[in-house]
Structures are given as structure tokens and as C-alpha cells.
């Protein structure tokens, strides 16, 4: 059974079909990249998979449960328990330190545990920056805090929306390396990106166009590493 399955999912805004009968399957532990030009429906799909928005029609099976008809409150619980979200613009709370930002996700999930939050920051290489505020961190460091925040509650799937969109090449490499390690650890990753280099490092890439799945490619030589960057 797939971890995530979209069956004939459509999202309609007035006369616009942002998603048009999309069918996708994501297996447990898979690293999937979703690509497409602007307006192709990438963000809409991200919102629907991330339980941030509801589909107009179709079924969304997450771990075998159809979340398409769930209430807003139930979707909140699903986001809290099963999904880790990473955003292009980081969205860290400016008046909280890095470790407090990670603990924020714990707070709404269960009980804040600073030790565990520090371990999560250590996993992303930011143990020494735990007490810094977002304004004191570089873009790459902020995104790594986001990754730690997404990981902290052990979600079943991590959704990253343009995670390297605001990063330079060096930081892009670091974040992708983090994803590779998460993948190695068995984490299911869905990464929305318009950057072919980031998409190419995934196991599989789905290309959207006009709200439909245009084509799908499997990366036969999957290494989880960006080719143009030499990792230290």
C-alpha cells in the first residue's frame, strides 16, 4: 500500500482548474520531486497533499485514510501528526531562537522537549547555533532550522515547497545533502521545485503542466547528490 495516493484529484477556483484529475502514488521511503512551470499546479498540489487545502474532487489517501473529506480540525491533526512542512521562505518566528522554533512544533504536537529539539538541530548541523535568533542566521541555516522543525515530530512524510528557492548554491547543496540523509534514514520526501538540478537528485520526478501530470521520470542513477556540486 502506498503511503500517499491521489486519485482523480481536482482543484477548481471559479473557472480555473488548478489541478485536473491528478493521479499520483508515493511509496513509503520514496523521494519524489514535483516540477513544472509557474501556474502548473505545484503549490496547489503541495497544499492539498499537506492537508493545508481541500480538493474540489477526488480522493487523497494518506496511510490508507482518505483525508479529502476531513474537517478543518481533523486536517490540523493530520498536519500535526503525519506531515512535516518546509517552506521556501522559512517562516521562522522572529522572536524565538532556533531551538525554540523547533520546540514550537513540539508544543502543538505533544510536549516541548529542549533536549530532543537540540538533537534535531544537531542532525542538521546547527547545534552551535541553537540559541541564535533567525535574524542572526544565514538563509541556509534558517532553512536547516526549518528542516529540524519538520523532523521533530517524526512525520510520515516531509513536504518541501521550493526548499532551495531562496538559497545560494552552497546552501542548496547542504539542504539537499540533508534530504539525502533523511532519505537514507527512510523518511518519505516530496519536494516541489522548479530547479531541475534539485529535482534530478530525487528518485522520481513528476512534471505538472496546466494542472495535469505531464510526464514522470525515474532517476536511474539516483545518488541523492547534486551533480554540479562537489561535496566536501
Amino acid at each position: 500500500m502506498s503511503l500517499l495516493e491521489l486519485r482523480n484529484v481536482s482543484k477548481i477556483y471559479g473557472s480555473l482548474r488548478a489541478l485536473d484529475h491528478v493521479n499520483i502514488k508515493v511509496e513509503k521511503g520514496e523521494w519524489l520531486a514535483i516540477m513544472g512551470p509557474s501556474g502548473s499546479g505545484k503549490s496547489t498540489m503541495m497544499n492539498i497533499i499537506g492537508a493545508l487545502d481541500k480538493a474540489t474532487e477526488g480522493e487523497i489517501l494518506l496511510d490508507g485514510v482518505d483525508i479529502a473529506k476531513k474537517s478543518a480540525s481533523a486536517l490540523t491533526d493530520i498536519r500535526r501528526d503525519k506531515i512535516g512542512l518546509i517552506f521556501q521562505q522559512f517562516h521562522l518566528v522572529s522572536y524565538l531562537t532556533a531551538v525554540e522554533n523547533v520546540m514550537l512544533a513540539q508544543y502543538y504536537h505533544s510536549v516541548p522537549d529542549e533536549k530532543e529539539a537540540l538533537e534535531a538541530l544537531d542532525r542538521v548541523g546547527l547545534a552551535d547555533r541553537a540559541r541564535h535568533y533567525p535574524s542572526q542566521l544565514s538563509g541556509g541555516e534558517q532553512q536547516r532550522v526549518c528542516v529540524a522543525r519538520a523532523l521533530i515530530n517524526y512525520p510520515e512524510i516531509i513536504l518541501a515547497d521550493e526548499p532551495t528557492g531562496n538559497l545560494d548554491e552552497a546552501n542548496e547543496e547542504i539542504v539537499v545533502e540533508l534530504f539525502r540523509r533523511l532519505h537514507e534514514d527512510g523518511t518519505t520526501l516530496v519536494v516541489v521545485t522548479h530547479n531541475p538540478e534539485v529535482a534530478e537528485v530525487a528518485q522520481r520526478t513528476i512534471v505538472l503542466r496546466n494542472g495535469r501530470v505531464d510526464h514522470e521520470t525515474i532517476n536511474p542513477g539516483f545518488t541523492g547528490k547534486i551533480k554540479h556540486i562537489t561535496l566536501q
Binding site: 493545508l52 521556501q88 521562505q89 518566528v93 512544533a105 502543538y108 515547497d161
Partner: protein, 413 residues
């Protein structure tokens, strides 16, 4: 948050000031109105009946009297501390040297009494009729050695008889005569200007009425009448036990009158309606004005809070969207925002409360010339008002927060 705290402080300070003044204004206005004279008259029961039957004014001399030795008992009633001042009157007719007859009225000017309770009291027309204009001389001093041979002459008598302050006046009453030194001439602007005021003992000697007075005027701090007071004024016997207790233990003019009748034998005490009603109306209108200002200040504060909290939520929309995205329910976020605002409200409210006490003192000193007492009741009232106004002010922001969709604020591309 600073602006929210400031807005709440402003509203709370106005509410504190207005409520403090409102709760204290009753006593203050009553004290001010005491300058307009007595608000209760006490006459013998027979006089009262005759007066009611034939509509005879109180300037007429009657054959019924009250007992002078009972005057001190007025300061022993339940509402003794509300009795501010009082004076007895005894009117008699007396002839002047010119042969003209005038009304000679015996009274207290500044009478000193040692009360049965052990207290001391200075009472009399000097303070009860403080608006009398002494055009010549001065008020007679009852504490002086020759206190019985002094007189205060009404301006019309003085003009007619050519009397001036310092003159000696010879008067002959029904039962005696006296030579009086004119201490002063007064202008009251009423019937009193046709009379001569002398010490009570002197009038009693002139009329052979030792130990008697024909009326008493009392100035008392009273509570404005309500339905219960009006019902009691008609017939105290019609009240139930609990109503009677409430009425008796409230400083209504009627209940004070009732208590005076209890201690003065065969007397009828009646409120002077114009004065009592004016006091009540002025008090009610002043309190209404204070309530209105409090209400308007709270509306102003609520509108200010509304704008500021909404702006704050808009400013933090990404943060709120993020919290929703990572699993915070609406209730948790609403609780977070409300607790932040309420903490701010508490800080602003405390600051405003103390500022309000200051404003109240300024109002008290400026308007009434005395400090405004802080009533403990103001504290919970202001606290409740601050909380209610803050919550009302938060309603639009909370609605906005509930309708905020994370997808609309998190994808800032």
C-alpha cells in the same frame, strides 16, 4: 502592544476617575447643597394638622410646641452622622419702642451642645442659613458673655425702624421685655427680613415659653428617593418587614424624618420637597453624566483596541499561518492571542487605574474642593470593564484569525 496597553490605560483611567467621582459625588453634592439650607422641618403634630387642613404657613404663631430638652436627641437617631446641622425656632410677637409690632424669632446662632452620647455639637442658623447677607455688623456670638442680649435684625425692620448694628433695641413681649444689642443686620431676601432673630432663651422669656420651641429645621445628608421611599413616605405601615428594614437603614429623607419623629415627642417631620428633590435630581443627573462618560470612554477604548489588535494580527499573519500549518488549532491560537492581549490589558489597566485615581483627585479638588475617596467597589468594576472592553475589542481580530488560511500567507512568492 505598547499602543494597546496605552489605549487600555486611557480607557481604564477615565473609567476609574468617573466611577470614583460618581460614587463619591453623592456626598459631595449633598455637602454643596447644604448651603441652600435645611431639607427637613419638624413641627408639633397639632400645628401640622392645622397647617394641612387650612394651608397655613409656618410663619404663623401657634399654641403647640416641641420640647427644647429633646433637641439633643436628634443626634441620637440611626442616621445621626447624616444630620449635618439643625436649629430650633420659637416665634413670638413683640412691640418695639416705636409701638410697631414685629415677629421676634428665637433660635440658635452658633449653639454649643454636649450631646447625651458624649459628643459635642455646634449648630445654628449661622451655618444653616449661610446665604444670609450680613449687611451691617456681624453674626451674634452665642458663646459670648452677654449672649442673651443680642439680636440680628432683618433688613426691612432695620430700614423701617432706623436700626443699625450696635444700637440698643428695646422689645416688649407678651410676658416680658428685653434690651438687646443689635449685633448685625441681615438681608435674606425673604420673609425673614421682617423679623428680629434673638437667642432662643430670650424669645422664650419674652413669650413665657420656657423650654418650648415651635419648629426645628434640620439639614441632613439624604439619599434620593426611589419607589420604596415614596411608598414609605405615604405610609411606613404598608411596608413588608424586609422593605421596612431596607428603608429604615437607608438615608432617605422620609426614613430620617421617621426617626426624628421617634425621638421628638408629638412631632411631625417633613422633608422640604424642593430641596430634597433638587438634591436627588442633581445627583442623578451628575451620576448619569459620569456613567455616560465612562460608557463613551469604554467605547472609544474598545474601538482603539479593535483597530490595534486587528493590525497586530495582520502583522503576524505569517506567524499565525505557520502555527496553523504545523498543527495549532484555532482555539490554541485564539487563546495565545487573547492571553497576550489580556496580559497587556492587565498592565494597561493597572497603569490606567492609578492614573484614574489621580484624575479623580484632580476633579475632586477642582470641582468640589476636596479629595475624592477611593471606593473599593471601583476596583472590580474597572477590572470587569477592562476585560469586557478588551474582549469586545478583540472580536474582529479573532474572527480574522479564525478565517486566516495558512496557504494564503505562507506562499509568499
Amino acid at each position: 502592544m505598547m499602543m494597546i496597553a496605552f489605549t487600555i490605560a486611557l480607557g481604564a483611567s477615565l473609567a476609574t476617575a468617573m466611577l470614583s467621582v460618581m460614587m463619591d459625588v453623592g456626598d459631595k453634592i449633598n455637602q454643596e447643597l447644604k448651603a441652600y439650607g435645611a431639607n427637613i422641618t419638624v413641627v408639633p403634630k397639632d400645628t401640622s394638622v392645622v397647617s394641612e387642613l387650612y394651608d397655613i404657613g409656618d410663619e404663623n404663631i401657634t399654641d403647640s410646641y416641641l420640647k427644647e430638652d429633646e433637641l439633643g436627641k436628634i443626634k441620637t437617631i440611626f442616621w445621626t452622622f447624616n444630620i449635618v446641622d439643625y436649629a430650633p425656632f420659637l416665634r413670638t410677637r413683640a412691640a418695639l419702642e416705636s409701638g410697631d409690632e414685629v415677629t421676634v424669632c428665637g433660635t440658635w446662632f452658633n449653639h454649643h451642645m454636649d450631646l447625651p452620647t458624649g459628643e459635642e455639637l455646634d449648630a445654628g442658623v449661622m451655618s444653616l442659613r449661610s446665604w444670609w447677607d450680613i449687611t451691617e455688623g456681624d453674626w451674634p456670638d452665642e458663646q459670648a458673655a452677654d449672649s442673651l442680649e443680642i439680636a440680628l435684625v432683618g433688613s426691612q425692620v432695620a430700614e423701617k425702624e432706623g436700626i443699625s448694628a450696635g444700637d440698643t433695641l428695646h422689645v416688649t413681649g407678651p410676658a416680658g421685655e428685653a434690651s438687646l444689642t443689635v449685633a448685625g443686620v441681615f438681608d435674606a431676601g425673604g420673609d425673614e427680613d421682617d423679623q428680629i432673630y434673638v437667642p432662643l432663651d430670650t424669645a422664650q422669656a419674652l413669650g413665657d415659653l420656657e423650654g418650648k420651641v415651635d419648629s426645628i429645621e434640620v439639614s441632613a445628608l439624604t439619599t434620593p428617593d426611589n419607589e420604596l421611599a415614596e411608598k414609605a413616605a405615604r405610609d411606613p405601615g404598608s411596608l413588608s418587614v424586609s422593605q421596612y428594614e431596607t428603608w429604615y437603614c437607608t438615608a432617605y429623607a422620609s426614613s430620617i424624618c421617621y426617626q426624628i419623629e421617634e425621638v421628638i415627642t408629638d412631632s411631625v417631620a417633613s422633608p422640604v420637597r424642593q430641596v430634597a428633590d433638587s438634591e436627588g435630581q442633581i445627583l442623578e443627573k451628575t451620576q448619569l453624566l459620569m456613567i455616560l462618560i465612562t460608557f463613551l470612554s469604554m467605547i472609544g477604548a474598545a474601538l482603539g483596541i479593535c483597530n490595534l489588535v486587528t493590525a497586530s494580527v495582520m502583522e503576524r499573519s505569517q506567524e499565525i499561518g505557520l502555527m496553523k500549518a504545523i498543527g495549532a488549532h484555532n482555539g490554541a491560537i485564539t487563546g495565545l492571542v487573547l492571553s497576550e492581549i489580556l496580559c497587556t490589558a492587565v498592565i494597561g489597566g493597572i497603569g490606567g487605574f492609578f492614573a484614574g485615581i489621580g484624575f479623580a483627585q484632580i476633579i475632586g479638588r477642582t470641582v468640589f474642593g476636596s479629595a475624592v475617596a477611593l471606593r473599593p467597589m471601583v476596583i472590580p468594576l474597572v477590572a470587569v470593564l477592562v476585560v469586557i472592553v478588551t474582549l469586545i475589542g478583540c472580536v474582529p481580530a479573532i474572527r480574522m484569525l479564525l478565517n486566516l488560511r495558512p496557504t494564503e500567507v505562507l506562499h509568499g512568492r
